[in-house]
């Protein structure tokens, strides 16, 4: 499985990349592989305020619909329309295609996320 060193990871298979007070969030390569062909993505409204571990969207593969959880609390600043138009982008490169950009409410929550090495370990369990 592919991971990227600089990113942070959640147990629900989301990745986080921060830029100042902003965070980009997507699903991991492990998650896209487990889901299989992704055919539909539902993203939140810009401006919505969501708590940590709240459902912020849905990723649907041919076989099933899966909720995606926000690993940090915050307000949605931008959503990536490109993946709504072409959900297969998540299969092609899950790390290059973020889902939402949020303004973090509590950056201390970042401490609870994993680094790549720990994330790989929990995936292999």
């Amino acid at each position: 499985m592919k991971t990227i060193e600089e990113l942070k990871y959640s147990k629900d298979h989301e990745w986080v990349k921060t830029e100042g007070n902003l965070a980009y969030i997507g699903i991991t390569d492990y998650a896209q592989h487990a889901l299989g062909d992704i055919v539909y993505v539902e993203l939140p409204d810009v401006g919505s305020r969501l708590g940590k571990d709240e459902v912020f969207g849905v990723v649907e593969s041919v076989k099933a619909a899966s909720d995606v959880y926000l690993p940090l609390s915050g307000t949605v600043v931008q959503v990536n329309e490109a993946i709504s138009d072409d959900p297969a982008l998540l299969n092609q490169d899950a790390f290059a295609n973020w889902m939402v950009q949020i303004e973090m409410e509590n950056p201390a929550e970042l401490e609870e996320l994993m680094n790549a090495a720990v994330y790989v370990e929990i995936c292999n369990e």
Partner: protein, 389 residues
């Protein structure tokens, strides 16, 4: 729970990088490396092969074989000619499906019944209980025979080349033939579960299965997993036991006649006489409250099995099967047209709906608390290169 069962092609699946899942107690490939969408489209454009050895294969013979089959199946066995197959149901007394099945007549005095893997044991127990009333025998051939479906426009070509036989079956649906592969019998039927105009199913000696499987792949066939098998059958509007047959979401029995295909597979001809479920089925034939209909979403979203369907404020049914799958557009109409590479995603499904909901009528599917518009279809249109042959 015991260990999962494996078909004789297990090593071939794993070797090809398949993702293996538990399906009705069997460890089966859900998809291979290319994914379900590629597998789905390849079957429509070229040819897909499916390991269906997990299904049950029972041979029925003996003096009263016909009478026994007439009694436990809903179709008319007397109308089944030699070298023909028919779709049929195992009905219970209340007109619900114990299973749906295919009955094959490769030999004059012997019938072969193919049943769903997930119902195999239940069917076997039921049939063995009923056969006691008849002078007939039933034998489980599921292990001796493996089964491979070969579906799509190039199916005939790859089988012909592998078997070295230009004639496979009579050129009509449900026709059967007997071929040979390296001296061993291969039973072939022009049947399938993909809706492909051209497609076959092979029953082969279990020991020949791997060689035939790899031979077909070498000739250009793609291995297809259960995921695409499901999307192909859904696109073709074919029922799946546990979704369109069996019990509904409230645990109530779905009447066999809810499935549009029942009218081809349930017969009331006098020659058939009485059989299990006949009275209930005759009543269903007069009219049902709910029937299975294809639907397609107009709004964004994906309709999934179990989602409720509304007409205005009234709940009018639920989705029995649903997914989103691409189909290929034809570049232009006419004899020279080809299937394009352009994929169009569409969310399709089958739904058990109140029978007063008509064709082309708009309904709404509740998806995570929101309503998405959908329309009731007579069938899902899809393109296959087979239609040009």
């Amino acid at each position: 729970m015991g260990a999962l069962k494996r078909t004789v092609l297990y090593d071939n699946h794993v070797g090809a990088g398949a993702k293996m899942v538990d399906f009705g107690g069997w460890e089966m490939p859900v998809n291979y490396a290319g994914g379900m969408i590629e597998e789905h489209l390849y079957t429509r454009k070229k040819v897909g092969i499916f390991d269906i050895s997990h299904m049950g294969r029972f041979a029925v013979s003996g003096r009263d074989a016909k009478e026994f089959l007439q009694y436990v199946l809903t179709n008319d066995v007397l109308a089944l000619d030699l070298l023909k197959a028919q779709y049929t149901f195992l009905s219970n007394e209340s007109g619900g499906a114990i299973d749906d099945a295919y009955l094959y007549r490769f030999h004059d005095e012997e019938y072969l019944l193919v049943v769903n893997a997930s119902n195999l044991e239940k069917d076997w127990t039921h049939l063995n209980r009923e056969i006691k009333k008849f002078d007939a025998q039933i034998v489980d051939w599921s292990e001796e025979l493996a089964m491979i479906a070969v579906q799509g426009p190039e199916s005939q070509t790859v089988i012909s080349r592998l078997m070295g036989s230009t004639t496979l079956t009579e050129p009509v649906k449900n026709a059967l033939g007997i071929l040979h592969f390296e001296g061993n019998e291969v039973l072939i039927s022009r049947t399938g579960y993909t809706g492909e105009p051209l497609g076959y199913e092979l029953m082969v000696k279990a020991t020949d299965a791997a060689k035939i499987w790899e031979g077909l792949i070498a000739l250009g066939a793609m291995a297809i997993g259960l995921g695409a098998r499901d999307t192909l059958r859904l696109e073709a509007g074919l029922p799946l036991y546990g979704h369109e047959l069996g019990l509904d979401i409230d645990g109530e029995e779905i009447p066999i006649f809810s499935c549009p295909m029942a009218k081809f597979a349930v017969k009331f001809v006098e020659a058939k006489g009485d059989y299990i479920g006949k009275k209930a089925l005759e009543k269903q034939y007069e009219g049902l409250k709910r029937i299975i209909r294809p639907i397609v979403l107009i709004d964004k979203g994906v309709a999934r099995a179990g989602y409720k369907v509304f007409k205005g404020d009234k709940e009018v049914g639920y989705v029995t099967s649903g997914t989103m799958i691409p189909y290929l557009k034809r570049e232009e109409e006419g004899p020279e047209s080809k299937m394009s590479e352009e994929k169009i995603m569409r969310a399709i499904g089958l739904a058990l709906l109140d029978s007063n909901i008509g064709l082309a009528e708009e309904v709404e599917v509740e998806i995570r608390g929101n309503r998405a518009k959908a329309v009731v279809m007579s069938h899902h249109k899809f393109e296959s290169e087979s239609r040009r042959k």
